[in-house]
């Protein structure tokens, strides 16, 4: 008993020692009109700046490309995928500003935005705007790795790699001799795809060589920026290990779903927890595609790491960013991943991220509230026969933990999901003002046809901010 109390106290102490702030999910973007306007201006200027030396077709291609770039940003804006506020954003922006301010060659009009995507990626269109995926922030293990990523993207921007690729394309692909070759191919009665492959393969491969060269250039310049900032960035080296592991992220320890999801003992879930691994068609032998290596846009992480070490060898920079609270930063990102995957209607993945996070922070309020919300929505979506829209299909290539979780979630019937939602609500303090809990309660009352309680609780929900607001609307319409 004493030992248990002591352990709880230690956990409690460690928890508050680790996390300095309570997690607040990011709100809808606030600077979107500015970004939209800015991108429009970039688009118009890019069109104006197209050299007169290009042919008509080349100009048309470059204009089209500018338009595509503009539309890509608009698409992110429309999807509500851009994050430009909140704790995580502020931290990333502060690093970004530090890099800009310590590198006098960099113009001050650059901006950074986060993108609500679970994949590990960062990019720039060369228009002084850098985008970082939330999934990349989720995977970084220290602040130096993040600095290296930002510097790398700034380097791409400064060296105008995006534009260079397009110009190269316009020059090499859109020209009269190629046009003649294409016409020849289309005049042929057969073999179009093979002939096109033959024509374009050398160019595509050389384009990939160029792309890998650009990556190396950006890596080198990134190190220069880091040196200029006089930062001790030896820890950044581990980013290459992360990149190496991205393609093979697999869990070695199998989760115990019964324990990890705190399933109530009164309900027998044993049937749902059994797991059948594998595809219905069995295993197929995979043929190694040798072109895959040649088609890589980025050099192998191992090569990049070796180059990084060589470039960084003589660095004497020693300053550390001690004020940066990486633990709270990581906690916010991990919570945000749960929130954002849930918002993007991938309930299975959101619960998966939740389990990982819950193991680290077992006493967290935000996390406590989340499961009631997730399972109430799952119960409703299963009843509405929309499960296929919010739960991924099981796949042999997923890591086993995630596949097991999906298998379990698919097996649950709507009533069991609702019972779980109720179970999680019952564990929460009645006075809780959590939006998650209110939403879960509203769905529970709605599905149990308790109009009065539904009305009372649903009034507390800010449906403007919630991606699942349609559920509340649907339930409301059933009571009317």
């Amino acid at each position: 008993m004493l030992l248990k109390t002591f352990t709880s106290l230690v956990c409690f102490f460690l928890y508050f020692n680790l996390i300095s702030q309570e997690f607040i999910p990011v709100k809808k973007s606030i600077s979107i009109p500015t970004l939209e306007e800015y991108c429009k201006k970039v688009y118009e200027n890019s069109n104006k700046n197209i050299s007169k030396d290009y042919s008509k077709d080349q100009k048309a291609f470059l204009k089209k490309n500018n338009e595509e770039r503009y539309n890509a940003t608009l698409k992110y804006i429309k999807q509500g995928a851009i994050i430009d506020n909140g704790y995580i954003y502020e931290k990333v922006d502060s690093i970004f500003q530090l890099i800009i301010s310590t590198n006098p060659t960099l113009s001050k009009d650059k901006k950074i935005y986060l993108i609500n995507e679970p994949t590990a990626n960062a990019f720039t269109f060369g228009d002084n705007v850098i985008y970082i995926h939330l999934g990349l922030l989720y995977r970084v293990t220290n602040i130096e790795e993040l600095i290296l990523v930002i510097c790398h993207e700034i380097a791409h921007n400064e060296m105008q790699h995006y534009d260079k690729k397009n110009i190269d394309y316009a020059k090499n692909i859109i020209n009269d001799s190629l046009e003649r070759e294409l016409k020849k191919i289309y005049r042929k009665e057969f073999g179009h795809v093979s002939a096109l492959n033959e024509l374009f393969t050398p160019w595509i491969l050389s384009n990939k060589v160029q792309s890998r060269a650009f990556e190396n250039e950006a890596d080198s310049l990134a190190i220069t920026y880091m040196k200029n900032a006089n930062l001790n960035l030896k820890n950044a080296q581990s980013i290459y290990k992360i990149l190496k592991n991205i393609e093979k992220e697999r869990d070695t320890l199998i989760l115990n779903l019964e324990k990890d999801l705190n399933l109530p003992k009164e309900i027998d879930f044993s049937k749902h927890l059994s797991y059948e691994k594998g595809s219905s068609l069995g295993v197929f032998t995979k043929t190694e595609d040798t072109l895959k290596v040649l088609l890589r846009t980025h050099p192998f992480p191992e090569e990049r790491e070796a180059k990084f070490l060589k470039d960084f060898e003589n660095s004497t920079a020693k300053t550390s960013i001690e004020s940066f609270d990486i633990k709270t930063f990581k906690y916010f990102i991990e919570c945000e991943m749960v929130q954002q995957t849930m918002d993007s209607k991938n309930i299975g993945k959101a619960i998966f991220y939740w389990i990982q996070l819950q193991k680290k922070y077992p006493e967290d309020n935000y996390l406590d509230h989340f499961l009631s919300y997730a399972f109430s929505i799952l119960a409703y979506e299963k009843t509405a026969r929309r499960e296929g829209k919010v739960l991924e299909n099981s796949e042999i290539n997923f890591d086993e933990n995630y596949d097991r979780l999906l298998y379990f979630l698919k097996k649950l019937n709507p009533k069991e999901c609702l019972d779980l939602a109720k179970h999680y609500v019952s564990k929460i303090d009645n006075d809780s003002s959590s939006e998650f809990v209110h939403f879960a309660q509203a769905v529970i009352f709605g599905m149990e046809k308790d109009a009065a309680h539904f009305k009372h609780i649903s009034e507390k929900i800010d449906t403007q901010e919630n991606r699942y607001n349609y559920i509340i609307k649907e339930i409301r319409s059933k009571f009317e």
């Binding site: 179009h192 795809v193 492959n197 068609l281 299909n393 796949e395």
Partner: protein
């Protein structure tokens, strides 16, 4: 170095992206040509899907095609390229657990049956020249382009080969049953007598590694609707005829076969069908009731029970009838049986749908209007009223234990001029062939003793006051011998959507988003 074209590589990347929660195929400009795709079925269970699509012309006479295989969760597991004559059509794809058999047709070169192993390597092929294809065979094979999951002409025979039912070019049309190994070498062939005075056809019921059963039909000529049936049992290893059991005569009354079950363990075959009064005909007259017959592999009768419509079956009181049904109770419906399910506890469930021929007030009024305007209408004065679903349950001793009417909204099928003069029995087959019934498909998981019969209910409201759903499906579940029924509303935010069979217990919903040019497939459970 593996020959992978760059452009096709790009195509693969865009073809099968398993995105957030459903399989999305972007850049789909239209989805009109769904024909060259279908389900991969193993032991009567959907285990995956395939698509067969054109890539490019390779020379003057040939084109390259891609075959892509997906597992039952729509995950792409294999794709391989094949080169075939340029106007190749894919008639059937059958999987026997070991190899994939593709039945191709080309107007110039005729039939070609090709087998591929799981690595996409061709391991055998057989061709039938265009001139050697009987017209009826081509007609039957072509129906596979428009039908669902059932085998049309090819059946897997264990993991060792395939069986094909075909026609012969006898003086009068005849039938042939041919066995192939996985390399498409003919193992044996059994054909009707060349000198037969009858037009003969075979319809395979079941193929096992021990016996092959088929319903044999005999008619004096093509035009007559009078026919006799026989039940043929062949030795699957040699192709030798074990026996043919006559399915009644004019004097004793004829019998039609709805479904057969071969029980390997007990070497017993169960036949389920309808029986007719002496002198009555199967296609012209209504049956007198149902029968269940047990025979051994030699054809000796083990048991036989008849259940008359008036008497044995009519004694079951219907409590599920709604007001509309009660009003129509006086007008008797006829049953068209879609499927028979045998659960592991030995219970047998027959799934049918009611229908009735009736005078079409709309067609008569339409004719009057058309006549008054100086035109004409080719609608018949009769129409078919399609009624409720019916499930009959027999226990392991073949005792009829339940006759359940599953209520659904009645629908109408209009008949063309002249069709009204055909008898109800024939019209049942006709309505079925044009997809006029609401029955959609039966999802089977024999190993786990789970079956789901899916049909469309035109009553799209969950409750009387609720909004209409986009599609309302009725589901009759039989799990471990217990029957339950449910209705499920399917809604879609896409303009074009459709349902199709999926792995056991699931339905696949296809949705096409025209603006985004994307096609998505998602799986939804039929019952929880």
């Amino acid at each position: 170095m593996k020959k992978t074209s760059l452009l096709s590589l790009c195509l693969f990347l865009t073809l099968s992206l398993n995105l957030v929660s459903q399989t999305t195929i972007p850049n789909v400009l239209n989805f009109k040509s769904k024909k060259q795709s279908g389900e991969i079925i193993e032991n009567n269970k959907i285990v995956g899907y395939f698509v067969f699509y054109f890539k490019e012309k390779t020379d003057k006479n040939n084109s390259a095609y891609e075959i892509e295989l997906f597992d039952d969760n729509y995950n792409s597991v294999k794709s391989f390229e094949i080169v075939r004559p340029k106007k190749t059509l894919l008639f059937e794809m059958v999987y026997n657990g070991e190899v994939f058999l593709f039945f191709f047709y080309d107007k110039k070169t005729g039939y070609e049956y090709v087998t591929y192993d799981r690595d996409g390597k061709q391991i055998g092929s057989t061709t039938i020249a265009e001139d050697d294809i009987p017209t009826f065979d081509l007609q039957r094979s072509m129906t596979s382009l428009s039908t669902g999951t059932e085998n049309i002409t090819f059946f897997p025979m264990g993991k060792e080969g395939f069986i094909r039912q075909s026609f012969t070019k006898n003086k009068k049309l005849g039938y042939e049953i041919i066995a192939y190994d996985n390399n498409m070498k003919t193992l044996w062939s059994y054909a009707s007598d060349e000198a037969s005075k009858f037009v003969e056809g075979a319809d395979i019921g079941e193929v096992t590694t021990d016996v092959i059963t088929a319903t044999i039909s005999r008619k004096k000529n093509q035009m007559t609707r009078e026919m006799d049936l026989g039940f043929l049992i062949l030795d699957a290893k040699t192709g030798e005829k074990i026996t043919e059991v006559a399915m009644g005569t004019d004097d004793t009354g004829k019998r039609s076969i709805l479904k057969t079950f071969v029980e390997k363990e007990t070497s017993k075959i169960t036949l389920v069908g309808e029986f007719y009064a002496p002198k009555d005909d199967i296609l012209k007259d209504l049956s007198k009731g149902l029968f269940i017959q047990g025979i051994n592999f030699k054809g000796d009768e083990l048991n036989y029970t008849e259940y008359t419509w008036k008497g044995d079956i009519s004694t079951f009181k219907q409590e599920n009838l709604d007001e509309e049904d009660k009003k129509e109770a006086g007008k008797s419906f006829v049953l068209f049986f879609h499927d028979a399910i045998r659960s592991k506890d030995g219970h047998l469930f027959l799934v049918g749908e009611q229908f009735r021929k009736q005078v079409s007030a709309g067609a008569i009024a339409g004719k009057l209007v058309a006549g008054a305007l100086g035109g004409s209408s080719n609608a018949s004065n009769f129409e078919i009223r399609v009624g409720n679903m019916v499930v009959m349950e027999f226990d392991q001793t073949n005792k009829l234990v339940d006759f359940d009417v599953v209520n659904k909204k009645k629908t109408t099928v209009y008949l063309q001029e002249g069709m009204g003069w055909y008898g109800s029995a024939f019209l049942g087959y006709y309505i079925n062939s044009i997809g006029g019934f609401d029955y959609s498909f039966t999802s089977r998981d024999v190993a786990n003793d789970k079956f789901s019969v899916v049909y469309v209910d035109a009553n799209r409201r969950e409750e009387s006051k609720s909004d209409k759903s986009d599609i309302m499906l009725g589901v009759i579940n039989v799990e471990k011998g217990k029957k339950t029924t449910s209705r499920l509303a399917i809604n879609s935010d896409a303009r074009s959507y459709w349902i199709q069979p999926a792995k056991p217990g699931y339905i696949s919903i296809g949705e096409y988003y025209r603006k985004e040019k994307k096609l998505t497939f998602r799986l939804e459970q039929l019952a929880y």
